[in-house]
Symmetry: C2
Subunit: 404 residues, 2 copies
């Protein structure tokens, strides 16, 4: 007998029929003799519906009250899912975040889990109940309801799996697992049997968002095995664990991220501290800088290029424009027409030539590489938006077409 | 400075515009220098909507999960109302039932308040916050969410008013106060300035349901002054207190109750214990017997007639049919075509002739009285359903037309 934590997202419980589909998955695991704890998100568009209600009243509502409002979404779905399991004839109990002992920081809207006291969950498991827990929500030290931010149900699931020392944490979603590339754009994309935590983290960061990043970090830290699988198709998914089966696969996948904008500042006098000034202005607004390219000094001046999330561009320009105006000769420009295409794979660490092979493939396809960034298990290139899908296909082909 | 508890029902917060109307009432009381605690119900049809979602999944869902589901309704309305008050620029905080310290029995769906720990509410009032509390819900000793049953928000409001030793508990509703008769049917019906707890209790029992009965009982026991008033029309309402201004008014109101059925059992052998047997069978099913009429023994046989709530009739007949079949000669019949019309008034205690005046008026209007029941402050008659409205008008006229 194992202890399994299962997590179902909002699309998996969007209506009564889907709720029964999920109830069947859960009760099957229970019938196989497992202890089952389930984390569930708000139904389909419920969160957006609730935000709509709030916006009708106050566009600047406090995050505290927003959390009270939004957490009702999971409350509805845990009750409905429990009722479906009751209907199937199994013992079940639903728990809200605070009942499940999910304690968080007081940062309403994007709270961090500080600790989980699984006492109540364990008591219900001892009674042989299936336990349905509201994801995405917790309780602050001031006994206020908090939410973990979008995607937070994954974090709830992994956190609870850690607290219970679960044998497996299954993340059910609307895809069948982690693919070597987005199967909607790359027809040869393959589902991976397994992938390492680090690779999964890089893929998540790069926009191949199958799992919430924080949840992967927690799983890695506490060695909880994850499985990403489909709630709609009954096939094995992808296991996320410490070391994946890397024998044959050098790279795990090709990812793209279109939420990218490039900022250029040219003609900065080559004095000390200018980089610090630029990036501190951005970090003050919580804007993450990604790929950075900086020119060698030339005539006492430097140029710098870097990318940020496109949806933070206006914010970034506002933060930088005053500073750039104050520097004689410096010029601030931006380009929204860029994307990032990356290959990820722990195999890179031991195999040379991976980056070269990627660049060669892009060159052969006449795709211009604007910027390059590399890490131990990742190579990213910035290309123009119109080249993105072709770049993904080309790179995927270069690495996976020869593997059969 | 006073401490005022205000309660708003679901129709008062049904949409964004109405929520702002309520927010204006609340902030006006706050601006006048009062501490304000507000109890609010789920929006308009929200409860029915949630029940619909549950019924789609499981018509026999456990009451525990039903309570988890339904309590999300008030959670949504406290958040939205708080956001509206924030928008108006006032300090506000919303509290769920368990945060407000409302402890209840574990009878899911119709829990009783066992105690209220107002610590958190007081702390928020000390911070000069307007406090918005979710009505209708509480927490059991097992840390499960419970609901107080329909109309329970009135009970929440009065309970919290008691716990806080509030100076006044205002129950905002869609009528302007307590009337001498239902103003929809009796055009001369007048709003009462005040009414005693006992009269209010009798009126509530008799189907003139302005206030939930348990809430009036709690208010009476703890001497909390209630005011019933409209959230739509800005006029003084009706004060409910220990002793109303009875100088001029003998009776406070005329009420009707159409949820009545009459059961007749004729030809019962006149032996000891038969009444006990009949009524114990009904009480075993939690069926309340109301007006009872029993004939004198005749030829060693008796007849008995009594009324119950019409919606319990099938249950009652099932409970009694076996017993009646077992008694030779006894015959069980019923009549759904009856209503109860009552006059209520503490003035009856000191004025004779009230009942006679009522019967005389009904006789003059050719309305047949089938049964009569009286208490210290109430006279009720059972009439046929088609005579009901005419009976109310006639009786109201007899007592109120001469009062100018």
């Amino acid at each position: 007998m194992s202890l399994i934590v299962q997590k179902f997202g909002g699309t998996s419980v969007a209506n009564a029929k889907l709720i029964f589909n999920v109830a069947n998955i859960i009760t099957r695991a229970y019938q196989e003799g497992n202890d089952v704890v389930v984390i569930v998100s708000a139904q389909g568009d419920m969160t957006d519906e609730l935000i709509g209600k709030a916006n009708e009243i106050n566009l600047n509502a406090s995050k505290r009250e927003m959390d009270v409002l939004l957490s009702s979404g999971e409350q509805i779905s845990i009750a409905l899912l429990s009722m479906a399991i009751e209907k199937l004839g199994f013992p079940v109990v639903s728990l809200l975040g605070w009942q499940a002992g999910v304690m968080t920081s007081s940062t309403y809207g994007s709270a961090m889990i500080t600790r989980i006291d699984p006492g109540r969950i364990k008591k219900e498991l001892d009674k042989k109940n299936i336990v349905i827990v509201a994801g995405f929500q917790g309780l602050s030290q001031y006994y206020d309801v908090t939410t973990l931010g979008r995607g937070g149900s994954d974090t709830s699931a992994v956190g609870i799996a850690v607290a219970l020392s679960a044998d497996l944490c299954q993340i059910y979603t609307d895809v069948e697992g982690v693919y070597t590339a987005d199967p909607r754009f790359v027809k040869d994309a393959r589902k991976l049997d397994s992938i390492s935590y680090d690779e999964m983290l890089e893929l998540a960061t790069l926009g191949a968002q199958v799992l919430n990043n924080r949840s992967v970090e927690i799983a890695k830290k506490h060695h909880v095995e994850l499985e990403v699988l489909s709630s709609f198709v009954d096939v094995p998914g992808t296991i996320v664990k410490e070391v994946a089966n890397m024998e044959k696969i050098l790279i795990s996948g090709v990812a793209k991220d279109s939420n990218v904008a490039k900022i250029s500042i040219v003609g900065i006098p080559d004095t000390q501290g200018w980089a610090f000034r630029i990036f501190s202005k951005l970090s003050a607004r919580d804007i993450n800088v990604d790929t950075i390219l900086q020119s060698a000094a030339c005539n006492g001046k430097r140029d710098i290029f870097f990318t940020i999330r496109e949806d933070r561009l206006d914010d970034a320009l506002e933060a930088l424009s005053k500073y750039c105006e104050s520097i004689k000769g410096a010029k601030l420009t931006y380009d929204k027409d860029v994307s990032k295409v990356s290959i990820v794979g722990a195999g890179m660490q031991t195999h040379s030539g991976i980056a070269a092979k990627m660049f060669e493939a892009l060159f052969a396809a006449h795709i211009d590489i604007q910027m390059i960034a590399t890490s131990e298990i990742k190579v990213s290139v910035i290309v123009s938006k119109e080249d993105t899908d072709e770049a993904v296909r080309t790179v995927h082909n270069a690495f996976f077409a020869t593997m059969d």
